[in-house]
C-alpha cells in the first residue's frame, strides 16, 4: 500500500471537498423497520496473546455486537470483533435462540469478517440485507441497533464526507464514510450496520461520542471483500508498493521535467520486490493517470460518485490482487505506460509485521533471556499511546522499516526482557536490545537464533547486540541445567515457540 507520511495533510484536506452530491430521498426510521430484522446479536469470547509473557494468553474478554445478515447464510461483522476469538455465538434478536458460529473469512486490514452459523437453518426466515454501493455526501443513513427487547433502534445521520482514511490496522488507507449522527449507547453497539433504504450502506468503524461522528466501512469496500471471499483462496486488498508526493510545487515540477500544467504525483520511493518495482516504476517518475482516470497535482482523480478523491481508491476499492493496472507516467518529460500487476502484501512480508493476530507470538527463552521478533503487535502492547510509550528505538525501527531494511528479507530479533535466574546475574536490567549475532552467526530471525544457540563457543553462548552492552555470554551447560527450574519459577509452559 502506498505511504503518506509527508503528504497526509494535503491529501486529506482536498479529498474531502467537491463531491457530486446526488440527493436521495430522506428515509425515516419507521420506513427501515422490517418484520424479520436482518440483524443478529453476536457474542464473542476470546483471549489475546500476552506479548510480555508470550507463552501465555491474557484473561478472556467478551464482546457483544450486532451482525448484518447477508445472502447465503452469512453474517457480516468487523474483524475487530472476532479477532483472537475462542468462541463465537449468534443470537436471534426476537427469539433469543442461539447457535455457535465459525469465522469464514477475515480481513484485518479492511476490518471485515464473515461468520457462518454451525446450524445451517439458524438464519431461516430472515430476509438478507442487500448492499447499496451508491452512498454519497448528503445522504442520510440509519444506524441500526437493538433494544434489549429485540426491537429496532434506528438513529439517522448525515453523510458529511467520503474520503480515504486509515483503518485501525493502519495498513494504507481505504475509502471511508464520515457520518454526523447522535448515536446512543447500547450494550451491543460494537458492530453497527448503517442502512439506506433498507439496504446495507456501511458498517461502523469507529465512533467519537463527543463530536458525534461515525466513520464507516463503506459498501464499496464491503463488496470488494465479499467478492474476494467468494473465491477459494482469499487474498486481500491489493497494493502497489510506492510512495508519492503532490506536484503542486512549481520547482519540483520543473525538476521532474514536467513542463505543462498537467497533473500527477511524484514517485518518492519504490519498495523492492513490490508490484511497482517489478513493473519498472522509478523514483522521480510522475504518475499522471491510472487506467482511464487522470490524477491531478494533489493526487486526486474524479470519481463518478464522489468527485475528487485520492487515486489510491482506484487501487484498493476498484482493483483486485492479480489485476493488471495500466499506470500512465512521465519519465524525464516523456510519457510512458507501465502495466502494474497488483498483489496483496501479506503481514508476514514486512520486517516488522503491522499485525499478528489469531496466531501465537513467536519467542525463544534462553536461560532467563527472552527473545522475540519485533512487530507492531508487540509495540501495541504498550496501549493506545504505544507510539509514545513503547521503547522509542523499536518504534523507530517499525516506523521506518522500509527505509532501514529495504530488502525486507529479515525480522528484527530483540532481547525483550530478562527473567532473573542464576545464569542471568548482572543482566537483569537489560531489555529491548536488538540482536545482531549469536555465537558468531548472523541473526535475521528467531529460527536463526534457535539454530545458532546449538553451537556454543567453548561452552559459552555469546550474544551480540547492536546496543550496549554489545555482548552477553551465558554458560550453555548451566542454561540447560537450570531450564526446568526457570520454567517452574516463571510458569513457562514451553521454552520456545517457532512455528
Amino acid at each position: 500500500m502506498v505511504k503518506h507520511s509527508l503528504i497526509a495533510l494535503g491529501i486529506i484536506l482536498v479529498a474531502a471537498s467537491g463531491t457530486l452530491a446526488k440527493k436521495e430521498p430522506a428515509i425515516s426510521a419507521t420506513a427501515s423497520k422490517q418484520k424479520q430484522l436482518a440483524l443478529v446479536r453476536v457474542n464473542v469470547t476470546g483471549q489475546s496473546y500476552d506479548y510480555f509473557r508470550p507463552w501465555q494468553k491474557k484473561a478472556p474478554f467478551s464482546k457483544r455486537a450486532l451482525g448484518a445478515v447477508l445472502s447465503k447464510g452469512r453474517v457480516l461483522v468487523t474483524a475487530d470483533l472476532v479477532t483472537n476469538q475462542n468462541y463465537v455465538e449468534l443470537e436471534r434478536a426476537e427469539s433469543g435462540e442461539k447457535t455457535a458460529a465459525n469465522v469464514q473469512v477475515i480481513d484485518y486490514e479492511a476490518n471485515l469478517a464473515l461468520l457462518e452459523p454451525v446450524e445451517k437453518t439458524f438464519l431461516d426466515g430472515i430476509t438478507p440485507l442487500e448492499i447499496t454501493p451508491d452512498t454519497v455526501v448528503g445522504d442520510r443513513l440509519a444506524a441500526w441497533q437493538l433494544e434489549p427487547t429485540g426491537a429496532l433502534l434506528a438513529t439517522e445521520g448525515l453523510v458529511t464526507t467520503v474520503q480515504m482514511m486509515p483503518y485501525p490496522i493502519d495498513v494504507g488507507q481505504f475509502l471511508t464514510y464520515r457520518i454526523s449522527i447522535p448515536m446512543q449507547y447500547r450494550e451491543n453497539s460494537y458492530t453497527v450496520p448503517l442502512v439506506k433504504n433498507n439496504k446495507l450502506a456501511g458498517l461502523l468503524l469507529r465512533y467519537d461520542s463527543r463530536s458525534q461522528l461515525v466513520d464507516a466501512i463503506p459498501a464499496p469496500i464491503i463488496t470488494h471483500f465479499l467478492k474476494e471471499a467468494e473465491s477459494q483462496n482469499y487474498r486481500g486488498f491489493p497494493s502497489a508498493g510506492f510512495s508519492f508526493f503532490p506536484t503542486r510545487d512549481p520547482e519540483l515540477r520543473e525538476f521532474a521535467e514536467e513542463k505543462g500544467k498537467g497533473g500527477g504525483v511524484y514517485v518518492t520511493n519504490v519498495e523492492p520486490a513490490t508490484p511497482a518495482m517489478k513493473a519498472g516504476l522509478q523514483v522521480g517518475d510522475i504518475v499522471t493517470a491510472i487506467g482511464n482516470h487522470e490524477i491531478d497535482q494533489n493526487g486526486n482523480y474524479v470519481d463518478p460518485l464522489y468527485g475528487k478523491i485520492e487515486f489510491t481508491n482506484l487501487l484498493t476499492a476498484h482493483a483486485y490482487a492479480g489485476d493488471v493496472v495500466p499506470f500512465h507516467i512521465q519519465r524525464n518529460g516523456k510519457p510512458m505506460q507501465l502495466n502494474v500487476t497488483l498483489e496483496h502484501r501479506d503481514a508476514k512480508d514486512y520486517v516488522s509485521p503491522p499485525y499478528y493476530l489469531d496466531q501465537p507470538p513467536r519467542y525463544f527463552v534462553l536461560g532467563g533471556l527472552i527473545f522475540q521478533e519485533l512487530s507492531r503487535q508487540y509495540l501495541k502492547e504498550w496501549g493506545p499511546n504505544w507510539q509514545r510509550e513503547a521503547p522509542q528505538r523499536l518504534v523507530y525501527f517499525d516506523h521506518f522499516q522500509s527505509e532501514l531494511f529495504p530488502q525486507r528479507n529479515r525480522r528484527i530479533v530483540i532481547l525483550s526482557q530478562v527473567l532473573p535466574a542464576n545464569s542471568t546475574i548482572g543482566y537483569d536490567d537489560l531489555a529491548y536490545l536488538t540482536v545482531t549475532k549469536v555465537n558468531g552467526g548472523e541473526i535475521k530471525s528467531l529460527d536463526d537464533l534457535a539454530e545458532a544457540v546449538k553451537h556454543p563457543i567453548e561452552g559459552f553462548v555469546k550474544i551480540e547486540t547492536e546496543e550496549d552492552p554489545k555482548q552477553i555470554e551465558l554458560d550453555a551447560t548451566q542454561v540447560a541445567a537450570e531450564a526446568p527450574e526457570l520454567q517452574e519459577n516463571y510458569g513457562i509452559s514451553s521454552l520456545q515457540r517457532l512455528q
Binding site: L6, S243, D249, E254, V395, S402
Partner: protein, 509 residues
C-alpha cells in the same frame, strides 16, 4: 523539593587551582572576629530548625564562623536565546542567586546563576550598595562560575572561604543563601545523605560527584556555600538524574559466565567496554570488548566502583580530578591478554548536541524563508517536537555514530511563509542530506552550498521523501522581502561565537 545535591568534587577541582595561586602571594589578612556579629559559638549549635540528630559525632562540629562576611547576593539579568527566531537577541530574564568569596578576590557561584548574563550586580550584608560584577570563568558542565567585582574596596572587609574535603555520611552541613521569602541571608542545616555521581541538569549531559543533603534548598540558594567545620564542602544546586553520554560506555561484569568467557579471574574486578566513541579520546586505544581492570592503579570493581580516599565512587571519578592535557592509565584485558594503555585527555568533546549551551548565539541559516538549524537540545526543546526521526537522531547521535556522517544534523526547522515556499510546508522537520549531489555535513557546508548554488538547488532530505527544489534567482529576489516582512536582522549565524561580553568557556575533559 525533596532532593538536594551539592557539588563536592567539582568544587575541589576548583579549590586546587586556588591553592596553587595562594602559594605565591601572601594570603589576605583574615579578620576572625568582627564586633557586633554573632559569635561563632552560638552558630555551632544551629538554631531550632536543626532537628536532625547526628548519630555518634566523632567530634563536635566546629563553628562555621560569620558566613555573612563571605556570602553575597547575586542579581543577574540574562538574555535567553530564542531558538525559534534565532536572529533575535532573545528574552530578558532576571534571577537571584548566592555566591561566596574565595581567595584572590573572587566569588564562586553556580554557572546557572550567571549563564547567558548581560549584567550582574552583587550585594553584601550590611551594605546598601549594588556592585556591578563580571564573570571571570564559567564551567557549564559542572555548573560552577567565578565572578569578580571591579570596585576596589569591595573585597576589603570580606572573608574568603576555604574548601574542605568530602563530608562524611550522616555528618551535619549547613547551606547558606538567599532563598525566596526574604531579603536576608538564610541558613538551613541537614545531614549528608548520599555521595554519588549525579547528572547535572544545567548542561543536562554531564555527570559529576554530588553530595545529597537533607536540607530544604529553594531557588535563590543556588550558588551558596554548603559548609562544615568552617570550610566549604559544596555549592548548593538542585537536580535530578537521567541519561548521560561519555567517551566510552561500559557494562558491569557481574555475570560469572561472562567473566569466565572473557578470561577473568574469579574475583570481583573489571568492567566491560561496550562502545568507544569514534571522536573521543579513547578512540583507537580502547575497543569494544576490552575489560578495564584498573585506572591509574586503582582497581576497578565489577560494579564500576573504585576506592578513592576511602570512599567508593564510580571509576570516572578518577578522570574527574584531571585537567585537560592530563593522562589516564588503564590496565586492561584484551582477548584474555593483560595490557596497559594510556589515554591523553587532550581535547574537549566536540559534539555536545545533547547538552544545553550557554552564552552562545544559536547557529542557523535562513534561505528562501527556510530556517535551517543544527539539531541540539536547546532547539529540540524550543520546538517541542515529537518527530520520531529527529528524536532518534538526537538520542543516538553518539551511540550510532551519526556525527561521523552528520557532525551537524541540519533540520529544516521552520518556514517563514512567502510565495516562493508556499508548497514546502511538508518538508518541515526534515533533515538535510545533500545539496545538488553533495553531502552536507555541517551548517557551514550548507551555507556554502547555498552561496555557490547554480540556478537550481536540489536539497535531498534523509529518508524517502521528495527532494526540495529551489530556484536560486527566485530566492535572491525574495531575500529582502522576507527579511523585511519578518524583521530578520541577519540571515545566518554560522559560528557558535560567544554572545557579547561572555566569559571564556571552561574546557571539558
Amino acid at each position: 523539593m525533596n532532593r538536594i545535591f551539592v557539588i563536592g568534587y567539582a568544587a575541589l577541582l576548583f579549590a586546587s587551582v586556588s591553592y596553587a595561586q595562594e602559594s605565591t602571594p601572601a594570603p589576605p589578612p583574615v579578620e576572625q572576629q568582627v564586633p557586633g556579629q554573632q559569635s561563632g559559638a552560638s552558630r555551632s549549635t544551629p538554631p531550632g530548625q536543626a532537628v536532625v540528630p547526628v548519630p555518634v559525632p566523632i567530634a563536635p562540629p566546629k563553628p562555621n564562623g560569620p558566613v555573612q562576611k563571605s556570602l553575597v547576593r547575586i542579581t543577574a539579568t540574562s538574555v535567553e536565546p530564542d531558538y525559534r527566531a534565532p536572529w533575535n537577541a532573545g528574552g530578558l530574564q532576571r534571577g537571584v542567586g548566592a555566591g561566596f568569596v574565595i581567595s584572590g578576590n573572587r566569588i564562586m557561584t553556580n554557572a546557572h546563576v550567571v549563564a547567558n548574563s548581560r549584567y550582574i550586580t552583587v550585594e553584601r550584608d550590611g551594605d546598601p550598595n549594588k556592585y556591578p560584577a563580571t564573570v571571570q570563568f564559567i564551567a557549564n558542565d559542572c555548573d560552577l562560575a567565578l565572578i569578580t567585582v571591579p570596585a576596589p574596596d569591595f573585597f576589603k572587609n570580606m572573608l574568603p572561604l576555604k574548601f574542605g574535603g568530602i563530608p562524611a555520611l550522616e555528618s551535619t552541613v549547613s547551606a547558606y543563601g538567599y532563598p525566596i521569602g526574604g531579603e536576608r541571608m538564610s541558613v538551613t542545616t541537614g545531614i549528608v545523605s548520599r555521595v554519588d555521581f549525579q547528572l547535572y541538569t544545567h548542561s543536562s549531559v554531564d555527570q559529576h560527584l554530588t553530595i545529597q543533603i537533607s536540607a530544604q534548598i529553594n531557588p535563590g540558594n543556588s550558588g551558596g556555600p554548603v559548609m562544615q567545620d568552617a570550610k566549604v564542602v559544596g555549592v548548593a544546586f538542585q537536580g535530578y538524574s537521567g541519561d548521560v553520554a561519555q567517551g566510552i560506555t561500559y557494562a558491569k561484569l557481574q555475570n560469572p559466565a561472562q567473566r569466565k568467557f572473557l578470561g577473568l579471574k574469579d574475583d570481583d574486578r573489571g568492567v566491560l567496554v561496550s562502545s568507544v566513541v569514534a571522536a573521543g579520546p579513547s578512540d583507537g586505544i580502547l575497543r569494544s570488548g576490552d575489560v578495564l581492570l584498573a585506572i591509574d592503579g586503582h582497581p576497578i570493581a565489577s560494579d564500576a566502583n573504585v576506592e578513592v580516599e576511602g570512599e567508593r565512587a564510580q571509576f570516572e571519578e578518577v578522570v574527574e580530578r584531571k585537567f585537560k592535557g592530563d593522562s589516564v592509565k588503564f590496565d586492561i584485558l584484551r582477548d584474555k591478554q593483560p595490557l596497559t594503555v594510556t589515554i591523553k585527555l587532550y581535547k574537549p568533546w566536540p559534539y555536545s548536541i545533547q547538552g544545553h549551551s550557554y552564552d552562545v548565539r544559536p547557529r542557523y541559516v535562513l534561505y528562501g524563508g527556510l530556517l535551517f538549524q543544527p539539531l541540539d537540545l536547546d532547539m529540540l526543546e524550543a520546538y517541542r517536537t515529537s518527530d520520531l526521526r529527529l528524536r532518534h537522531f538526537f538520542e543516538y547521535f553518539i551511540l550510532e555514530q551519526i556525527y561521523l556522517q552528520h557532525p551537524d544534523v541540519i533540520v529544516l526547522s521552520n518556514i517563514l511563509p512567502d510565495p516562493i515556499n508556499t508548497y514546502l510546508a511538508p518538508y518541515r522537520g526534515a533533515i538535510v542530506d545533500e545539496v545538488n549531489g553533495k553531502k552536507i555535513r555541517t551548517l557551514d557546508e550548507l551555507a556554502q552550498a547555498f552561496a555557490q548554488a547554480p540556478g537550481q538547488l536540489v536539497i535531498r532530505m534523509i529518508g524517502d521523501g521528495p527532494p526540495l527544489v529551489l530556484d536560486r534567482n527566485k530566492v535572491e529576489a525574495a531575500r529582502e522581502r522576507i527579511k523585511t516582512r519578518y524583521n530578520v536582522a541577519k540571515e545566518q549565524n554560522l559560528e557558535e561565537r560567544p554572545a557579547s561580553g561572555a566569559p571564556a568557556q571552561a574546557n571539558k575533559i
